[in-house]
Amino acid sequence: MSSTTAPSSSVAAGSADASGARRNSKRPKYSRFTQQELPACKPILTPGWVISAFILVSIVFIPIGVAALFASRDVVEIVKRYDTDCIPLSERNDKVKYIQSPGNKTCTRNITVTKHMKKPIYVYYQLDNFYQNHRRYVKSRNDAQLRSNGSSDDVSGCSPEDYSNGLVIVPCGLIAWSLFNDTYNFSRNNQQLSVNKRGISWKSDREHKFGKNVYPRNFQNGTLIGGAHLDDSIPLSDQEDLIVWMRTAALPTFRKLYGKIEQDLQENDVIEVTLENNYNTYSFNGKKKLVLSTTSWLGGKNDFLGIAYLTVGGFCLFLAMAFTLVYLVKPRQLGDPSYLSWNRTPGWR
């Protein structure tokens, strides 16, 4: 049903000439716009349309699904939960007390590589039930202070971690204060596996959000120690752990990049992880996990996308077939005039 200019418009155009002689005529000017006769396509959900749309979706979706699934399957991911294991059996009754007490909390775990892992291997820590997206938490930072030395005295919004003994804290705020402070050391066959902690943050953060001449001051000096300490001699732009941590997670369960192992790991390699279990997730029952993972073009391991694509693609194929069947079995002519008889009393209420 393409749009055709109504035949009457030509008549109208003719009479326009006739009335042209009369000046100041209030006759509306004819244009396809004002007469609402602009050329237009009028998409209707014809069977053909519906079926081809479904088929198109499935044609696009199934290959993407397959590719995504393959990508996800290629990724090797090892997850090791250690929050409970790293507490001595005797202390497990009161984990919070243990974690808050001073002393060495080193703990060693072994990880067996299940599959060959190609470098770079990304090391993550995963926290659970940690609401980095709490409004109070998210707002408790001062971007200006982080960015330039000039505004290092600006601690607005950082309360209560704004001043320590009357001195300005750099970086201020709850986020920085609660910086994650577990550390991991990897060794394979008693050979140290170096963890590269450079380049784990976003480049724009390093270069534009965290100043090169902003140094930590009075950090973790207060009575209540939150998380990690920072080296006062290293500018914030190089404190990549902090930068990663400061980019708050979207959801209460999240991973954060710890570093990269720039060596391949072979199948059945046993990796010994020496970790310092300092961070308190016990008071809010949060799990802590260590994650080693490779990446694909699609990122880390998550079968969901691939499976979902395949499911939806398949479902569309099914719908397409179902519709084809229905249309074949019981065709209905669109625009069938018999549907429009006045005598028919349609089911209006």
């Binding site: 109504a6 418009s9 109208a12 009335s19 009369r22 005529s25 509306p28 004819y30 004002t34 609402q36 602009l38 050329p39 998409p43 209707i44 959900l45 069977p47 519906v50 749309a53 979706v57 979706f61 990724v75 919070v96 770079p120 609401y131 980095q132 997206n133 709490h134 409004r135 109070r136 938490y137 998210v138 971007d143 709850l174 609660s178 976003w202 724009s204 534009h208 939150g226 980019r247 708050t248 997670a249 979207a250 209460p252 369960t253 991973r255 990049l257 008071s283 809010f284 993972s293 990446t295 990122g299 880390g300 998550n302 979902a308 939806v312 519709f323 229905v326 669109l334 625009g335 429009l340």
Partner: protein, 1138 residues
Amino acid sequence: MPGGRRRKLQLSKIYSFRCGRSSFQEDHSQIGGPGFSRVVYCNEADSFESIIRNYMDNYVRTTKYTLITFFPKSLFEQFRRVANFYFLVSGSLTFTPLAPYSSVSAIIPLIIVIGATMVKEGIEDWQRKEQDVEVNYRKVRVHRNGGIFNYKEWKNLRVGDIVKVGKDEFFPADLLLLSSSYEDGVCYVETMNLDGETNLKLKQAVEITSSLYRDWMFGDFKAVVKCEDPNANLYSFVGSMEFEENQYPLSPQQLLLRGSKLRNTDYIYGAVIFTGHDTKVMQNSTDPPSKRSRIEKKMDHIIYLLFLILLSLSFIGSIFFGIWTNEDHQNGEMKRWYLRPDNSTFLFDPRRPVMAAVYHFLASLMLYGYFIPISLYVSIEVVKVLQSIFINQDIHMYYEETDRPAYARTSNLNEELGMVNTILSDKTGTLTCNSMEFVKCSIAGTAYGHAFTEIEGALARTKSNGYNDNELPKVVRSSSVKGYNFSDKRIENSSWVMEKHADMIQKFFRLLALCHTAIPEVDEATGKVLYEAESPDEAAFVNAARELGFELHKRTQTSISLHELDLVSCEKVERVYQLLNVLEFNSTRKRMSVIIKDEEGKLLILCKGADSVMFERLAKSSGKFEEDTREHVNMYADAGLRTLILGYRELEDEEYRNFSKKLNEVKNSISADRDSLVDGVIEEIEKDLILLGATAVEDKLQNGVPDCINKLAQAGIKIWVLTGDKMETAINIGFACSLLRQGMKQIIITLDTPEIQVLERAGERPAIIKASKESIHHLITRGKLQIDRSLEAFALIIDGKSLTYALDDDMKDEFLLLAIRCSSVICCRSSPKQKALVTRLVKAGTRKTTLAIGDGANDVGMLQEADIGVGISGVEGMQAVMSSDIAIAQFQYLERLLLVHGHWCYRRISTMICYFFYKNITFGFTLFLYEAHSLFSALPAYDDWFLSLYNVFFTSLPVVALGVFDQDVSSRFCLQFPRLYQEGVQNILFSWTRILSRMFNGFFSAVSVFFLCTTALELQAFNQDGQIADRSILGPIMYTCIVWIVNLQIALSISYFTMIQHLFIWGSIAFWYLFLLAYGAISPGLSTNAYEVFAEALDPSPTFWVTTLFVVVTTLIPYFACSAIQLRFFPTYHETIQ
């Protein structure tokens, strides 16, 4: 001004001046008292007394705002809307620490939205202002001093000024007529702008001042006028003038109202009495009652529903928040230590969790503000204005002959046009043209005129029950002369002289040429004589007389000159008749007469009038034609023609002298019953008339009326005709315009039964009322029974008298029950008030949309009472148009207005509103879901600016395009399948099921977007470099999905894709990407989390694109599949047509 223009004889003696002069004497005692305190010093506007009174100047302002009041007033108007007020409050709250987002981002959309509305208001007001300026700067001649008149602008006119107004000029203010170019100080005034009546009204100055007819005479004119205060009553004026130490009473007869026009008079002098807003016309101008459409009222309910959702979501959130905050710090132990609950702010203080919950409640009220579409009102307003422009611009609703396009005076009711259930229509001028055509006549018992009237044609068509028009006689127009459609060989071309009763025929047409108040005007270009008549009937008579050889070519105040064919010599001769008296027409007399003296000195009274009054005034001796004529008159009435009986009598000199003396006596008497005395005198002379014959004029049906009514009936719209006509005429017209069809059963409710008539003659009112009620009740009950038993269509016909009883409280419900079950209803002989009452009854009784259509001042009540008033800008002036909501030139355009524009607008607005709620629920609910995952801490999922620009930029234009341009089917199909219209009448597209299903769809979309996005991005690396999708990435991804989904959703809803739709839809999506890019490129101090998010994180990552594609398509599939299934199995009507 040459003195020759002034007549010797005084016009006032000829006219009987029946109206206007009566009963003002007693009012004059009130002058000077409260309400009558105005004192005007004529010609002394500069004097001390005038200045201290400080009357209003003549500047007229019709604008809503002035420069100063514009801001406060229009802002106030804006914030009266509950949604806008909510946004204002929440906008102010963002300045407190409660706010989940920055105050600037919250205020800017509000400013944009309010600003847009104010700009619209401003433009509209500016246009009014320009009109004002045009009027206020018109010029008029004003007396300076020493008898010199100079031009002055209207706005500078002051009370007391003496002005001189020329022919065809408007009066600049309410003036006291002092004198005119006529010696006795009369002038003609056209009051079309005031009351819609086209006939000229006669005004007369007080005798004492009427001698001042030259400029210089006003050099030392002084007078003091004391009169009533400004008021809105057009027909009253009480005052007195002190002139040369004498008091003269003043009446409306001397008052010339602003807005009316001087006609047929060369000039007048007048003193300004009321200026500017004190004038009667300005006092009368009230704002048209503002009507709101049903859809908008329902929309308010939806907004309340959304507020309810908003409140309950906030409440749920606050409870959880309170519980969780309370947990954070118990027994000195901190649970979520990273929040420092031991040292918290008031917002999150675990020691006072209840207060924290209350604060959270306020914060989340702000956050969930996105459930309420902030741009809804402004978008709807913009859309409606554009729709009105389309209505105004529609070339198919432009009427060439009067040069009038359709004109939507208010844009509020566009969609209401698509929901009309009942049309209440006036007849004369609405269904018919109100231009009379002389078609037939019966002279001396012989019927002349072969023309086949349209109504007869239609009747014949319906009776033969066929559609083969070809076989039936067509309506033939025999003449190109307006108002004349007479053809009969026996009469035309002077052949009437050969007829048997040639002398009667001569007298007949001479009467038509003489007995009237029309004024001939010779068109200098063509030499043709045109007539300016009080009513279309009169014009038709004079035209007919001219065409048949009795040309009225000159009328002086005292004589009428005819070019007429001499019966003996068969040559055209000029005859001059002396006009002695005009006994005017009025609705109680139902006749008019003139008394003339012909060239032979014979005195004649010529009389024409309605059959009901004329037959009883005929002389007994004229019986020979009476029966024939009666028969003819009935025949004409059946054919839907309006008839008049003509008669004459020769007067004896003696008799006339007596009459003249008596008439003058009673005219000059000042008793209260002066009117009835005058009537009595006239009655005496209008008797024993000799019957000449009868005329029949046709009030032609407008073009296309039957077709239009047919279409509207097919569309399921009920049509009621409310007319002042006789029942027979009304029924015939009903047949002619296919309102009544053969095979329809007629239920007639009338009090014209013998029993009632007997009672009426007996004259006992209580008995009459009782009997009438019983009889009507009986008829109604019987009618209902008839309908119950039969499946046929019924038509109800009721006359005005019965209607009076039927509209009584105790009977109106029953009457309505009966009426709504009939497919057509005709109310005959109904008064304007009854029209309005019937309208109210239908509106209140059916709770459906009513549309009233009419053209005259008598329809105003009906137009204002109905949900939509449509005025016909026709012959009867502008009164109906001024009080209507939409004006069209012809009844037939109603079809297009309702079936095409109404249908489209209804569809557009309802789809648009549903969509608005859909898109905001989609957006708002993701906010809720995200907040639920952040401990209900009122943290928005998106950046502040994403939030605030959602409604304004990324989703607003496509929906406006939908509202303005969408068409489900083309106009041709709308007209071809009127049944489509039922969608609006039954309100299918805006039913609660549809609204709620749209809302549910929004809810589903939100859930889908949120969970699919979070699951897909979950924990794992987001890109090949191992980075994680954090809060600053998840937000834009979800937002991208939403922008795509809501825009594609509208693409799925649109059934008419022009370039504009494409541009807006794809443009909005593209704009979002551009915005993200641009926003990310500005300094991180401003863009914070969004800094380089697209360029650095999203764009290079395949996950972003793959996820977006998946989420968007998956979210839309259910809707798509549902619509396909619904289309396949349960098609709606328009879908069938598509």
